[in-house]
């Protein structure tokens, strides 16, 4: 139906957490996601983990992409994930981390529930493809 026609779009939150002012990468990603047909909400800089959780829950995003270049990922990412769980939003949100993450930490983040970690130089298409393939099917 014209009003009824399903118009499913993949919604993403591109988030910058903590004391990290480097947002060029986040901007580039946001734009690439938009051009891929996603609806992108950008958090803005210097957000606390609970701000990110609030945004992810209210915007009901399919994908949460956290960009961290400050090295504080081991502190911040678990807080975000716990927050999502608190609002029953963890199960069907695809959590991605982008930035400079050492290999050991990457394994640990994945253990926590991060679906994938994308380092510097990852082709944009790879990230977009990953999202398309892994975003959870919702009712």
């Amino acid at each position: 139906m014209s009003v009824e026609q399903e118009e499913r779009a993949i919604r993403c939150l591109v988030a910058k957490v903590g004391l990290d002012g480097h947002d060029r990468g986040a901007h580039v990603i946001a734009r690439a996601f938009r051009d891929a047909g996603f609806e992108v909400v950008y958090s803005g800089l210097h957000r606390a983990p609970e701000d990110i959780v609030q945004a992810a829950v209210q915007e009901d995003v399919d994908v949460l992409g956290i960009s961290i270049l400050s090295g504080a990922h081991n502190t911040l990412v678990p807080k975000v994930i716990d927050g999502l769980k608190e609002y029953d939003a963890f199960e069907d949100t695809l959590v991605l981390v982008g930035g400079i993450i050492p290999d050991d930490d990457e394994a640990e983040l994945k253990q926590l529930g991060v679906a994938e970690v994308f380092g510097p130089g990852t082709p944009m298409e790879e990230t977009i493809e990953f999202i398309r393939n892994n975003v959870s099917e919702r009712a």
């Binding site: 139906m1 499913r8 779009a9 946001a30 051009d35 958090s43 009901d60």
Partner: protein, 378 residues
């Protein structure tokens, strides 16, 4: 079409509605997604929510891009929270007509309310065509209303005809203008002017603010004159229904019949022109006071009922038109598809009127049969 089937609720959806009503943010967010996607079952959800709505003051904020809508909405939300109200915000941003993608940037401005879950902020992309956008926005407002928000703010894209549609979902409409935008005011005259209950000169610390204020004042007062009663916004519908309105009777229809409009006549709302500096929050308290005054005016004059009736009438029409349109689309397919029909017309084998009559004939037949059956059973 069976109405009860279209609004039937699956068990899972019924649970979702229950969760929303009991205050789950997750459920509210999910319901808005369903509404936005126009996904199967959303009609049932919205129709179940309807009886729980009506408690919120709905405020629409519109104005040209860069006027400071998002920043003002942030400050408004914070001020409402300060006095203990809970707030819902629906912010609409444009989407790419090519990819459908969008960057929804309004949230970045919500600096005063981050971490406050009692401000429920939701970005929506202007995905829609065919009026789908305004429908989805109106339904999202209902979800926030049913959730129990005291105030719901709708922030529009910032340009074009869509504004008027979206803003129709609001009880009180504020139009934002920035100083020195003489040309903007020229363009405002065309459509946006009629829908404003409050005009706000934002960035009032900038040069030219006084002049813009004066220009708006002048426009507002010109609009009050009886000859200006040709507008088409929701106030345009209201104005002629006042019994002692000076336009002579052409538009008087006593639909409400209760005469509640009588005591409204002496309290015609004159749009307010106010000034704010959204960055610093200056003037926000006054603006809220104006919103309150307008809400009070709507209630005391009984205008709110008229406004709501008109809104629901428009909603019913939109839905019916869409549903009938779907039936018609199906018939077009059955007649060989629109391309084949158009080609036949191009080759002069038939003409558009004949085609339309043929396509509609089966629907007409059904309606006639239904009428006959209805008459027999009476």
């Amino acid at each position: 079409m069976d109405g009860s089937a279209a609004t039937a609720l699956s068990d899972a959806d019924a649970d979702l509605v229950e969760e929303l009503l009991s205050g789950s943010h997750r459920a509210l967010a999910r319901v808005i997604t369903r509404i936005e996607n126009r996904s199967t079952g959303h009609r049932g959800i919205v129709s179940r929510l309807h009886e729980h709505t009506g408690g919120a003051d709905v405020i629409g904020i519109t104005g040209s891009p860069g006027a400071g809508k998002s920043t003002l909405v942030d400050k408004l939300a914070a001020a409402y929270r300060d006095r203990g109200d809970t707030v819902g915000v629906v912010a609409v941003d444009p989407s790419s007509p090519y990819t459908g993608g969008a960057v929804l940037g309004d949230r970045i401005r919500m600096g005063s309310n981050v971490g406050d879950m009692d401000v429920f902020f939701r970005s929506m992309s202007a995905r829609g065509q065919l009026g789908g956008l305004s429908m989805a926005t109106a339904d999202a407002v209902k979800a926030l209303d049913a959730f129990g928000k005291d105030v719901v703010i709708v922030e529009t894209v910032g340009a074009g005809q869509n504004e008027i549609d979206i803003v129709r979902t609001a009880d009180t409409v504020a139009v934002l203008v920035q100083p020195g935008s003489g040309d903007d005011i020229q363009t405002l005259k065309a459509g946006i002017l009629e829908i404003g209950d409050v005009f706000v000169v934002n960035k009032a610390d900038m040069d030219g603010a006084e002049r813009t204020l004066a220009e708006l004042e002048e426009m507002v007062h010109r609009r009050e004159s009886p000859t200006a009663g040709l507008d088409t916004g929701h106030h345009g519908f209201d104005a002629p229904t006042h019994p002692d309105d000076e336009s002579d009777g052409g538009g008087v229809d006593d639909a409400d019949g209760s005469g509640e409009g009588d005591d409204a006549s002496d309290a015609e709302w004159t749009p307010d022109v106010t000034r704010t500096v959204a960055n610093t929050g200056e003037g926000v308290e006054d603006l809220i006071a104006t919103f309150d005054a307008h809400a009070r005016h709507l209630r005391e004059s009984g205008e709110i009922e008229e406004t709501k009736r008109l809104r629901y009438a428009e909603e019913i029409r939109t839905l019916v038109r869409a549903d009938v349109g779907t039936l018609a689309s199906g018939e077009i397919e059955r007649h060989g598809g629109i391309d084949a029909l158009a080609e036949a017309v191009r080759r002069r084998e038939t003409d558009p009127y004949t085609v339309a009559a043929e396509v509609v004939a089966p629907i007409e037949a059904c309606v006639e049969r239904a009428e006959r059956d209805g008459n027999e059973t009476e």
